[in-house]
C-alpha cells in the first residue's frame, strides 16, 4: 500500500533549498512506505535532480522551461498540474516558504483538498498522519489531520530533520515537457535586499539586535559574530522601526519566523511581538543591560551587560575556539 507523494524542490540561486530535503523526510512519513517523487521546476534544473535522490526521493520529475525561471503562481500551477495529471499522487509536500505559502493553497483549492500549513512535525499515529503546527503565534500548538482529498502540507524550515545525504542512492530522473502560457502576473524586476550568504529563515545560527544596538553602525559587531558562526543577522521590530536595519531582517509576529539551533538576542527586551518569531529556537542566549528585561525569562543563558562590551569578547573567544579546532 502506501501513498505516492510529490515533494516540490525549491530552487534558489541555482541550488535546492534545504527545506526541500526536510520536505522529502516529511514526504516519507506521509508515504507510509509508498513512493516519494521529487519535482523540480526552472529554466535549468535537471542537474539538481540527483541531490533530491541523495536526500531520499525515489525518483525525480523535472520541468525545464524559461517561463519557470522565476516563481509565478500561474506558471508553477500549470507545471504542477501536468505532474499531478501524470502521477495522480495521494500527497504533496512543499516548504512553508514564500513560494510554498503562495502556491500550496491554490493547489489545495484546485484539488478540492485540505491543506496543513506551517507544520513543524509530522507523525504516523495509529495509521493517521498527524501534523503538529504552531497557532496563536507559537503560544499554542495543534495536531491536525487531513480528512478528505490529498494529504497536502507545507513544512516550516529547520524543524523536520532531513534524512542523511547518501550519494550512492539511485533514482530515475524524468524530464517532462509542459507548455506554460497565459501568465497573468509578470515579474518585472526582483530587488535583492537580503545580503548574499545565509538565508535568515534557514539559518542554524542567528545573531539578532534590538533597540539596544543603538545605530546602524552598531550592527557591525553583530554581523562579525554571525559571519564567524556561519549564521545570519536578524533584528527586532524596534531596531527596524528605528532604521538601524532593513525590514527584511525583522523577526517576530510581523516579520520572519525562525527556528535556528542558536539564537543570540543582543539588546532585545523580549516583547511578545518578537518572541512570537523566535521562541522555538533550540538554544536562546540573551545579552542585555537591563536585568529585568523579559528576554531573560525565556533565555537558556543570559549575560547581563553592555552588548558592546560583551560581543567583542565573545568574538575573541570564538576565534580562539576556531584556532583550537
Amino acid at each position: 500500500m502506501g501513498r505516492k507523494v510529490l515533494v516540490l524542490g525549491e530552487v534558489r540561486d541555482g541550488a535546492i533549498r534545504h527545506v526541500s530535503f526536510e520536505a522529502i523526510a516529511a514526504g516519507k512519513v506521509i508515504a507510509e512506505g509508498g513512493e516519494v517523487i521529487g519535482v523540480l521546476f526552472g529554466e535549468s534544473v535537471n542537474n539538481l535532480a540527483g541531490e533530491m535522490v541523495a536526500y531520499g526521493a525515489d525518483r525525480v520529475l523535472t520541468v525545464e522551461n524559461e517561463k519557470l525561471k522565476n516563481y509565478s503562481s500561474d506558471g508553477f500551477t500549470q507545471a504542477m498540474t501536468a505532474v499531478i495529471d501524470q502521477e495522480s499522487p495521494e500527497g504533496i509536500v512543499l516548504g512553508h516558504t514564500a513560494q510554498g505559502k503562495d502556491l500550496a493553497p491554490r493547489l489545495a483549492s484546485k484539488l478540492d483538498s485540505g491543506l496543513v500549513s506551517d507544520a513543524v512535525d509530522v507523525n504516523n499515529e495509529n495509521g493517521n498522519i498527524l501534523f503538529t503546527r504552531p497557532i496563536y503565534s507559537g503560544k499554542a500548538f495543534e495536531k491536525k489531520m487531513i480528512t478528505d482529498g490529498l494529504v497536502l502540507a507545507t513544512i516550516r524550515p529547520n524543524n523536520v530533520p532531513a534524512l542523511a545525504k547518501d550519494e550512492s542512492r539511485a533514482g530515475d530522473v524524468q524530464p517532462i515537457e509542459v507548455d506554460i502560457k497565459d501568465l497573468r502576473t509578470v515579474i518585472k524586476e526582483i530587488v535583492r535586499k537580503t545580503a548574499g550568504g545565509v538565508d535568515l529563515s534557514e539559518a542554524k545560527v542567528i545573531v539578532a539586535g534590538g533597540r539596544g544596538v543603538k545605530s546602524a553602525d552598531g550592527f557591525k559587531v553583530l554581523e562579525e559574530l554571525a559571519e564567524l558562526l556561519g549564521g545570519a543577522v536578524g533584528a527586532s521590530r524596534g531596531a527596524c522601526d528605528a532604521d538601524y536595519c532593513d525590514y527584511s531582517l525583522q523577526i517576530g509576529q510581523t516579520g520572519k519566523v525562525v527556528t535556528p539551533d542558536l539564537y543570540i538576542a543582543c539588546g532585545i527586551s523580549g516583547a511578545i511581538q518578537h518572541l512570537a518569531g523566535m521562541s522555538n529556537s533550540k538554544i536562546l542566549v540573551a545579552i542585555n543591560k537591563d536585568p529585568e528585561a523579559n528576554i531573560f525569562k525565556v533565555a537558556d543563558y543570559g549575560i547581563i551587560g553592555d552588548l558592546f562590551e560583551v560581543l567583542p569578547l565573545f568574538i575573541e573567544e570564538i576565534k580562539r575556539e576556531l584556532v583550537k579546532a
Binding site: A108, S117, S137, D148, E189, G302
Partner: protein, 257 residues
Amino acid sequence: MNIYVVMKRTFDTEEKIVIKNGVIEEGDAKYIINPYDEYAIEEAILLKEKHDGEITVVTVGGEDAEKELRTALAMGADKAFLLNTEDDLEDGDEYTTAKVLAHFFKKNEFDIILAGNVAIDGGSGQVGPRLAELLDISYVTTITKMEIDGQKVTIERDVEGDVEVIETSLPILVTAQQGLNEPRYPSLPGIMKAKKKPLEELELDDLDLDKEDVEAKSKVVEIYLPPKKEAGKVLEGEVQDQVKELVNLLKTDAKVI
C-alpha cells in the same frame, strides 16, 4: 471601483492563552481585527480616495464579528456583510471559509479583493489564494505597495525580504503584508457614522450552499500549550569570565557551536 475586503475577527495573541477541555478558552479575551486585515482595509480606503468607488467588508464567522465589521465601517468602509455560519457549522477549515466566500463573490461584482496575508490566530494564510482559485482570478500575496492605473496594476511584494515588482491587471485578489501602509484609527465621527452604515447578514441558505458543500477537509485532533521553559541560567562574575563560560556551555552543554 468595486473594492472588497475580506477580514477576520481574531483573538488578540498578546492575550494569555488558556486551554480548557481541549479548546482555547475565550473568557474575557480581547478580540481585534486581524492586524494584516487592517492593512487591507486601509489600502481599500486609500484606493477609494484615489479612484472613487465603494468599499465592502466581508467576514465569515458568528454574530460576535459584527463588532469588528463596525470598526471597519468606522475606519471608512461603506458597507459590510457577515456571512454567518454559526448556526449551520460546528467546525470549518480554510476550505470551508474560502468556499463560503466564493459563493458570496459569485453574486457580487468586484474589481479588487483585498485580504490580510495571514491571520495571527490560525496562521495558515490559505484563504486568499484558495478564494482566488475558486473565482478563477489571479492573485498576488504579501504585497507592500500597489498602484492601479485603469486596468493595469503594479505591485511590489515581499518575498522573504527581497522585493518583486509585478505587473498584472484587474480583477485581482491581493493579500497585505506589513509595510503596505499605516492603518488609521477610527475617528469619532467615523464611529458615529458607522452605526448607520448597512451591515447585512447572510447564512448558507442565502448563498445557495448546503452544510455538506462546505464540510471541512481537515480536523484538529488536539490543542496544547508548549512545555513551560525552565528558567534559564543568568551567568555571573567578570564579563570576560561570563563570556568564557557561555562559549563553553554552548560547546559542551548545548552543543550548538
